[in-house]
């Protein structure tokens, strides 16, 4: 049953034990058909049969009032589900243990919540059963102990470990494990051949057996459907059958690097009583909470109106995006890194940051301090804020070094509990390193982690933070890819442990490491966007074929057909015109251009459906809005690329019989003039209107010259003077009392002046569908206190 493959390790062949020969252990029930028993030293077989036990856990619901089973943001519920499964099925969780001392059994550390353990029973292979309790946490091995009462201790035979002899290439080791075959526990046995890992100037590092790596199956929670015995400790013995160590990883390595330990380590590992852990955690939590802070982040009100719906890019504050967060308050947690600064291990995307209104550090109910946003990091999803006044009690203590492998550490997940900040502390151990971003080898742990989790060593000193790795130009590529919805910043595979050593320089001189695009902006500035200055439609394969542009547009899958070019725009400057097809945009000196494929549905203009006609002609009711929302695929992409970046635009100008030609032009991404959603505004609820400056895209849609006066009426309040004057949303007010209006501010001025002159009304000239009319707006109710929006600016 053993398959042999040759791997290029000099003369060596590694035996891959794909199926382990089964060995009937004497006491575990003889199997008559077992005739070809492989050679296993009798000594080892006896020792194994005597010292292997099975441990059976019976679970209960956590009876403690501290149970967090219902907390949606804690890990407790998922663990509770596992326990609940056992409870529901009336099953015990059976694991393999090795007796290592009188009355003391070592089992793999499965991080069982002691409060959920109703009973523990230990059974020998000979069938003796005895009650037990959880014992100690082993700090050098990924294991805990179970203890049986002194009265029963005599029924167990501790494993005696021989001192480990010098391991060499000539050594073969033996491994014995216990596994369940149907309803019987059986010993399994195999030979472990060495594989040397050659190291310059040092002795080769010998790996015996297979299954090495960071995977710690042993340490996963076991569900009732997990094969029994999986990952349970196995015994490693020398060629003579003298047990020399214990493995949770399937083999033994000479440095005890993977999950295996020689007898001395096992027996001498420092231990902590599991029963004492809750108290230890409570104290630790108390210390940590002094450095962990709850931060309230407030976002600006969205303020709809003529701007149309803003499309939200997914953000790390949930998936609601900037518009979903408008006006809301979000709670995040951060850790004090100095007496002023808090590091928040959560990303903030460009659009969300722009909408940020205020931040507070909440010390306790009713006591909070204002903080300001310093910046968000370009390498990872994290940001730094600073108290505007006062100081923070303590900075988080820094660990001098990484915890040793197999040394338990704490994953602290901050959340709210009982209306106060709280950290969930979970135990984990570093499990190995995996290649990741930029070929770096990043540490991983044997527990589930989410970004924002803080990692503390056993003594409560910060050594790392779980953060999302940010990838350069990610936003840009996300916009450019029409299937972008399927992945975002928050991908779990992009999250990793950032060690304090990586973070420290970034915390010390953050300015060098901040993403310069992520800044807080004024309400109006946040609504500005970049532009090329075109409107477009996408193509279909049929249309592309018929237009004879199938080749340059890759059967219509690439390319934006321009159907309007705004005057004085970058597009106009490089000579783009209606009918040209935009194909690609290359950013800076990069060689891989972004193909322009607007995702259907999401970014195609809201005006794909034709305007509703009817009410429009009669002059009653809101006028049809014919200007396009300027948030589209292209403006979003350019925003992601960033103002000031040089891009090369490749377009195609169709000509007869497919003789068109590609042309390229270099453009610097510029900020568009304000569009209607970013236009200056004036709103007065008593007068009942909200107006905005007449912006370029509105002028274009209404064929108004750049010099034509007017403001856009974006909203009227029912029953207000504005609605009684029968002026309607999306109409243009061109004059007030005969004076042309150059902006929202002007109309406000005209009304304020008329009010000051005790005039009861202002005569408005109103434009709808290119036709003007007059309307008297009663201004008796005007009160400057109700003015809104006048103080806003782009700064």
């Amino acid at each position: 049953m053993a398959a042999t493959t040759t791997v290029p390790f000099g003369r060596l062949a590694v035996t891959m034990l794909c199926g382990l020969a089964l060995l009937a252990a004497g006491a575990a029930g003889q199997d008559a058909s077992d005739t070809s028993e492989p050679a296993i030293p009798e000594r080892l077989r006896k020792a194994a049969a005597a010292s292997f036990v099975t441990v059976h856990f019976t679970f209960q619901k956590d009876p403690s009032p501290d149970s967090d089973d219902a907390a949606p943001d804690s890990y407790a519920p998922s663990r509770q589900r596992m326990y609940q499964q056992y409870i529901d099925l009336k099953m015990t969780m059976d694991v393999v243990g090795v007796v290592i001392a009188p009355g003391e059994i070592m089992i793999a550390d499965r991080q069982i919540n002691p409060r959920c353990v109703k009973a523990v029973e230990v059974r020998t292979l000979a069938g003796k059963a005895m009650p037990a309790t959880l014992g100690e946490l082993m700090r050098r091995c990924d294991a805990v102990t179970v203890k049986v009462a002194r009265a029963h201790a005599g029924k167990l035979t501790p494993m005696t470990f021989a001192p480990r002899a010098e391991l060499s290439m000539a050594t073969d080791l033996l491994r014995v494990g216990l596994d369940k075959v149907e309803d019987k526990w059986r010993l399994i046995h195999g030979t472990l051949k060495p594989t040397p890992v050659l190291r310059t100037d040092k002795k080769p590092w010998l790996l015996f057996g297979r299954g090495f790596g960071e995977s710690h199956g042993a340490l996963r929670y076991l569900s009732p459907t997990t094969p029994a015995g999986m990952g349970g400790p196995g015994i490693i013995a020398d060629e003579d059958g003298n047990p020399i160590g214990v493995t949770c990883a399937g083999g033994l390595d000479s440095r005890e690097f993977y999950g295996c330990w020689v007898g001395a380590t096992v027996l001498n590992a420092p231990r902590v009583a599991l029963a004492g852990l809750p108290e230890y955690k409570r104290k630790l939590r108390g210390t940590l909470l002094k450095a962990v802070h709850e931060v309230t982040v407030q976002f600006r009100q969205g303020g709809g109106g003529g701007g149309g719906d803003e499309f939200g890019a997914s953000s790390r504050f949930g998936s609601r995006g900037p518009s979903g967060l408008a006006g809301r308050e979000v709670t995040v947690f951060g850790v004090a890194v100095s007496d002023k600064r808090i590091f928040i291990p959560k990303g903030l995307d460009r659009k969300v940051a722009a909408q940020l209104d205020a931040m507070y550090v909440k010390f306790s109910a009713g006591r909070r301090a204002r903080a300001k946003f310093l910046g968000a990091y370009k390498d990872f999803g994290g940001m730094l804020i600073e108290l505007t006044s006062g100081t923070l009690p303590v900075a988080v203590p820094a660990a001098p070094k990484l915890p040793d492998r197999h040394e338990p550490f704490w994953i602290a997940s901050a959340r709210k509990r009982y209306a106060a900040k709280h950290v969930d502390l979970r135990r984990a151990r570093l499990s190995g390193r995996r290649r990741g971003f930029a070929n770096g080898y990043h540490w991983r742990a044997n527990a589930t982690m989410k970004s924002g989790d803080l990692l503390f060593d056993y003594r409560g000193r910060l050594f790392g933070v779980v953060l999302n790795q940010r990838i350069e130009d990610e936003e840009q590529r996300r916009v450019a890819d029409p299937r972008a919805g399927s992945y975002s910043y928050g991908r779990s595979d992009s999250q990793r442990i950032f060690l304090l050593s990586e973070l420290q320089p970034r915390l010390a001189s953050p300015d060098k490491h901040f993403d310069t695009k992520i800044v807080v902006k004024s309400r109006l500035a946040a609504r500005r966007r970049s532009w090329l200055g075109v409107e477009f439609v996408t193509l279909s394969p049929d249309v592309a074929e018929q237009m004879k542009v199938a080749k340059p547009t890759k059967d219509g899958s690439v390319g934006l057909l321009i159907n309007a070019v705004y005057p004085n725009s970058p597009a106009a400057a490089i000579g783009l015109r209606e009918g040209d097809i935009l194909l690609r945009v290359a950013v800076g000196g990069k060689t891989d251009p972004i193909e322009l494929k607007a995702g259907r549905g999401r970014y195609v203009s809201r005006y794909d459906s034709y305007p509703r006609f009817g009410g429009n002609d009669s002059g009653e009711g809101p006028a049809e809005r014919t200007w396009k929302a300027r948030e589209n695929f292209l403006t979003t992409l350019l925003d992601a690329i960033g103002v000031g970046t040089k891009i090369t635009v490749t377009s195609y100008r169709p000509a007869g019989e497919g003789k068109g030609a590609e042309q390229t032009a270099e453009v610097t991404v510029t900020m568009a003039p304000p569009d209607i959603s970013a236009a200056r505004r004036w709103k007065n609820r008593k007068i009942g209107l909200s107006v905005r400056d007449l912006t370029y895209e509105v002028r274009q849609a209404l064929t108004l010259k750049p010099s034509a006066p007017g403001v856009v009426l974006v909203k009227t309040e029912p029953g207000s003077p504005a609605s009684i004057a029968r002026i309607w949303p999306n109409e243009i007010i061109t004059h007030a009392d005969g004076k042309p209006l150059s902006g929202a501010w002007d109309l406000h001025k005209a009304i304020a002046a008329a009010k000051a002159a005790n005039a009861g009304k202002v005569r408005l000239a109103v434009l709808r569908l290119g036709k003007s009319r007059f309307a008297d707006l009663k201004i008796d109710a005007y009160n400057p206190d109700d003015d809104e929006g006048l103080d806003e600016d782009y700064e």
Binding site: V543, G579, P611, N616, E620
Partner: protein, 481 residues
């Protein structure tokens, strides 16, 4: 029918302008005045009944995306012994054949002599052999002398129930309904005599049996109906009659000619928008203010050329002072302007910044109100010309051109995602400006036997922006069933 399409809007307007609903008088009661009211009605009925016509045109309709024909029901009234009859434009327009059932239950064909969509009137002539017996025709009463509360009867064929009479009173003699571009030249008689679909074009008569109006619009069974005043109807009928007499029959139906200045007016006291403008102090009894506010001057129009500006007051037209204090006075002013001689300079007096100014203006002939239709049968859609008056939104976005009137479902155009109100810019390589261009392109492609693939790229403008659409007419939807 256009009439019913406007009902909802009308209702809203009627509410705003204070229309009220009264109960119909129960006529069988003993008259309090001692007059035999039943007798009066009998007399009136006898006078007008013989002139009442059940009009059954077979009309073409393009709105569904294909040319369809259907017989529709309307009413009409004979206004001359030689067989002219009046009905509504919305009854007779696009008729390929008009059958009329007369008072003697005889069915006679009629020819459409003239159509005036702007007042919704149509003049027909019964096709009778020359020298036949003169027909009994209805007389017009002076509709300006009508008063609210006067008894009237509406005659016609509501829902095709021929020779029906309903009785009511004049609820308002000068109802102004603010349509955007239609019905600019008349006020309305509002009556609570029931007016239902099929009454369209029938007479509203007084107790003398004389025509005071042409029933045109109804608001369901709510006791609110509207008729074109008889004087307007008579005037339009005469104009069309005169014009028809000078026009070759082949060129019928004739259109009423009106002058176009490009002025749009707003009453000095506009209660709808609560906008009140000072007029020029009048000198007559009550010294009513004179003039009317010019709210809009169409770009490129004669008024624009004459540098008249919105906000000016129009004071004198054709030597007469203009009284535009209330909306009810606007149709009369518009008629005066429409009656100015075309292509002949005339002087208007406007007031700007309190200063009277004489302005020389050369009115032009008002263009076509409604554009022609065309069916692209094989492609399953219909198109129509854009006109400033019928399609103000499209005209504003594009100017003159051709737009998709209807898209048949199912059909090739529907598959190509063409929609009604898309403006057609190009069909294949044929640029489209007129219906003739569409026809030319359509015929060229459809009849091109050498065409390998039945596909054509149609460039449209939708919501002001161009888009290419691919029309594939491989499938012939009309062959199915």
């Amino acid at each position: 029918m256009r009439g019913s399409a406007c009902l909802a809007g009308l209702l809203a307007v009627a509410m705003l302008t204070g229309g009220c609903i009264r109960e119909v008088v129960t006529v069988r009661e003993t008259p309090t005045t001692g007059i035999d009211f039943q007798q009066i009605i009998e007399t009136a009925k006898e006078r007008v009944y013989p002139a009442l016509v059940f009009v059954k045109p077979i009309r073409e309709d393009f709105a569904s995306g294909e040319r369809s024909r259907a017989e529709v029901f309307g009413s009409g009234v004979i206004i001359s012994a030689d067989g002219y009859l009046l009905t509504n434009n919305h009854v007779a327009e696009k008729a390929v054949q008009v059958n009329c059932v007369l008072g003697d239950r005889e069915q006679v064909r009629a020819t459409v002599v003239g159509l005036d969509p702007e007042t919704d009137l149509a003049l027909l002539k019964l096709d009778r052999p020359a020298g036949g017996t003169p027909l009994t025709y209805a007389q017009f009463a002076d509709s300006d002398k009508l008063e609210e509360g006067q008894f009237v009867m509406a005659l016609g064929s509501p829902f095709g129930f021929t020779r029906s009479i309903s009785l009511g009173i004049i609820s308002n003699t000068k109802r102004y309904i603010g349509f955007g571009t239609q019905y600019q030249y008349n006020l309305w008689l509002q009556t609570d005599a029931a007016i239902n679909p099929g009454n369209s074009g029938g007479p509203l008569v007084d107790t003398d049996g004389k025509v005071v109006g042409i029933n045109t619009l109804g608001v369901g069974a709510s006791g609110i109906g509207f008729a074109i005043p008889g004087n307007v109807a008579r005037d339009v009928a005469r104009r069309m009659q005169k014009l028809a007499a000078r026009t070759d029959r082949a060129d019928w139906p004739v259109k009423v000619r009106r002058a176009y200045t490009g002025l749009q007016l707003q009453a000095l006291k506009d209660f709808n928008t609560n906008t009140f403008t000072d007029g020029v102090a009048g000198t007559g009894v009550g010294k009513n203010p004179r003039g009317v506010l010019i709210k809009n001057v169409e770009a490129g129009s004669p008024a624009d050329d004459a540098k008249i500006r919105p906000g000016d007051l129009l004071l004198i037209v054709d030597g007469q002072f203009v009284d535009g204090q209330y909306v009810e006075q606007l149709p009369a002013i518009r008629r005066t302007l429409a009656d100015l001689l075309v292509d002949v300079p005339t002087s208007l007096t406007v007031v700007r910044d309190d200063v009277e100014q004489a302005v020389r203006i050369i009115p032009v002939l008002k263009g076509k109100f409604e554009g022609a239709d065309f069916e692209l049968r094989r492609w399953n859609f219909t198109v129509k010309e854009i006109t400033k008056f019928s399609n103000p939104t499209l005209h504003f976005q594009h100017g003159e051109g051709v737009f998709i009137q209807g898209v048949r479902y199912p059909g090739c155009a529907n598959d190509a995602r063409l929609r009604s109100n898309d403006i057609i810019l190009h069909i294949g390589d044929v640029p489209v400006k007129t219906i003739a261009d569409v026809k030319k392109a359509y015929e060229r492609y459809v009849n091109d036997s050498k065409l390998v693939e039945k596909k054509v790229l149609i460039r449209i403008k939708r919501g002001g922006f161009q888009e290419p659409k691919l029309l594939n007419w491989t499938k012939d939807y009309l062959e199915e069933n």
